[in-house]
């Protein structure tokens, strides 16, 4: 860039930063004035926008189905994904156009990742679910960075700013990560059952050693049988705990990202939030990849031949490493 362009741009940016700082919360506190933006309020639960078959009582929906802002954004995300992916693949050509190339690139990348971990046959089985999880988590997170999310909403009577946003990232509603975690959990267990049959449950109910020991009245064998039974219980517990870790990893990341963006915007209005926007773009992709990758690992473990306890440990280590 030439000097003639660079200088005004740098000057403008510096001016924006200074103005943002001065009228933002930090500068306002120093100067003893009110901040330009209202203090962000943190809601853990989503707010209803409409109440189907019930009545709105203040901000709560009573006796009906609440269409929350997070649900609305989930629908918007779904719609966008469908538009892009179904629209972009409607007329598949051997020599693809731009959109088709992009879609193919994304699908091929994830498909390659999945088949490299799970193998060709299992990869094909796992792919649709994992790809959808990835797309939903990533698009949901990225779309929440659009300005329409924090700016459009309803104002409560008597308030002078938006009190209920029309859209709010679905990841910040614990129900969405929980739903995804349940789906992932259910599919993993179903795949395990379909591959190993009812014998899959032997992973959790390990009473063979205990009964054998009791029959022979061998104290050593009874002891090992007890330990084995306890391991089975732990295994069961670990599968259930996955639900929680899936849910709260995504929920926590999405909510924290949202709060950080609001707070930084509140503190320094211009420019500074941009760094965090980049961070959130990254976080959205990373979280989508983690959710997909962990589901993949669990699915591979579930369909792997048994006596795969070593892998379990590896997977747990990976689990720990993923935030």
């Amino acid at each position: 860039m030439s000097r003639a362009v660079l200088l005004p741009v740098a000057g403008g940016a510096a001016a924006l930063l200074i103005v943002g700082f001065v009228i933002g919360a930090v500068g306002a506190a120093m100067l003893g004035r009110d901040a330009f933006l209202p203090v962000p309020q943190v809601h853990l639960a989503p707010q209803p926008i409409a109440c189907l078959g019930g009545t709105m009582a203040g901000t709560a929906c009573e006796g009906g189905f609440a269409v929350t802002n997070t649900l609305l954004s989930a629908w918007a995300t779904t719609l966008v994904i469908l538009l892009v992916f179904v629209g972009g693949t409607r007329a598949m050509r051997l020599v693809p156009g731009r959109l088709q190339s992009l879609i193919e690139m994304l699908i091929e990348a994830l498909y390659g990742f999945i088949t490299s971990v799970a193998g060709e046959r299992n990869g094909r089985r796992f792919f649709p679910l994992l790809m959808t999880i990835f797309l939903f988590v990533a698009f949901n997170a990225w779309m929440a960075l659009l300005p329409i999310y924090p700016s459009v909403g309803f104002t409560a009577p008597g308030a002078d700013h938006v009190t209920t946003h029309l859209f709010r990232s679905a990841g910040t509603d614990v129900n969405m990560p929980l739903a995804l975690a349940l789906v992932s959990f259910a599919f993993v267990e179903i795949w395990g059952l379909r591959v190993h049959g009812i014998g899959y449950l032997r992973e959790f109910v390990r009473l063979g050693g205990l009964f054998g020991g009791l029959r022979r009245l061998n104290p050593g064998q009874i002891f090992y049988g007890l330990v084995d039974a306890a391991i089975g219980l732990l295994e069961l517990l670990s599968h259930l705990i996955r639900l929680l870790s899936f849910t709260f990893r995504l929920f926590g990341n999405m909510l924290a990202g949202e709060i950080v963006l609001f707070m930084v915007t509140f503190l320094v209005i211009f420019l500074a939030p941009i760094a965090f926007y980049f961070l959130e773009i990254l976080v959205g992709g990373v979280q989508a990849l983690i959710f997909t990758g962990l589901s993949l690992v669990f699915a591979v473990m579930a369909v792997a031949p048994h006596a795969a306890h070593d892998e379990e440990h590896h997977a747990d280590a990976a689990h720990e490493a993923a935030r």
Partner: protein, 184 residues
């Protein structure tokens, strides 16, 4: 921005404060299920089919290229072999021709030598014959001369036949003109 008092949810506590709600959960599940189904039938299948087709085509063309390469290699080897064969054939022919020429030359030379030998022999025979004839003639003339001379000397005509016999006898005794031994 987000309104209402900080962290003020509707008086709920524990898991309720997080906003866990069975209806929402169900809606999210249904929503995700629908998304999964539509994407599966209207996007993934198409894209994967296209990827498969493309990779199939690429594999096909690679195999085709490999086949063509092998073919051309084979053809080249075949050509090389033919060439080698031709070379050996021509080498052989050349050697044969050379040998034949050599034989021809030897034959010709032998023939020529034989001819020369024969001619030499025949020439020698001619020469001998000529000489013998010449010697004979000389002897005849000498005999005639001797007879004539003798006639003259004794002036009388004697029986020619008796003279001849006499002379022959003398010559035979002399053996001076007898050249058979030398020529042989």
């Amino acid at each position: 921005m987000l309104a209402a008092p900080l962290l003020a949810e509707e008086g709920a506590s524990g898991i309720g404060a997080l906003g866990v709600d069975l209806t929402s959960l169900l809606v999210y599940l249904v929503n995700f299920g629908i998304l999964l189904l539509i994407l599966y039938f209207f996007a993934y299948k198409r894209v994967l089919a296209m990827l498969d087709e493309r990779s199939g085509r690429i594999k096909g063309s690679l195999e085709e290229a490999e086949r063509v390469r092998r073919d051309s290699e084979e053809r080249e080897a075949e050509m090389q072999r033919t060439f080698e064969q031709n070379r050996q054939e021509s080498q052989r022919l050349l050697a044969e021709a050379r040998e034949m020429a050599q034989r021809q030359r030897d034959e010709t030379r032998r023939q020529a030598e034989a001819d020369v030998e024969r001619l030499k022999a025949s020439a020698a025979a001619d020469i001998r014959r000529e000489r013998d004839a010449a010697v004979e003639e000389v002897r005849q003339q000498f005999a005639n001369l001797a007879v004539t001379a003798a006639e003259r000397i004794i002036h009388r005509t004697i029986d020619r036949k008796a003279h001849q016999d006499l002379i022959d006898e003398v010559l035979a005794q002399e053996g001076a003109f007898q050249s058979d031994g030398e020529a042989r």
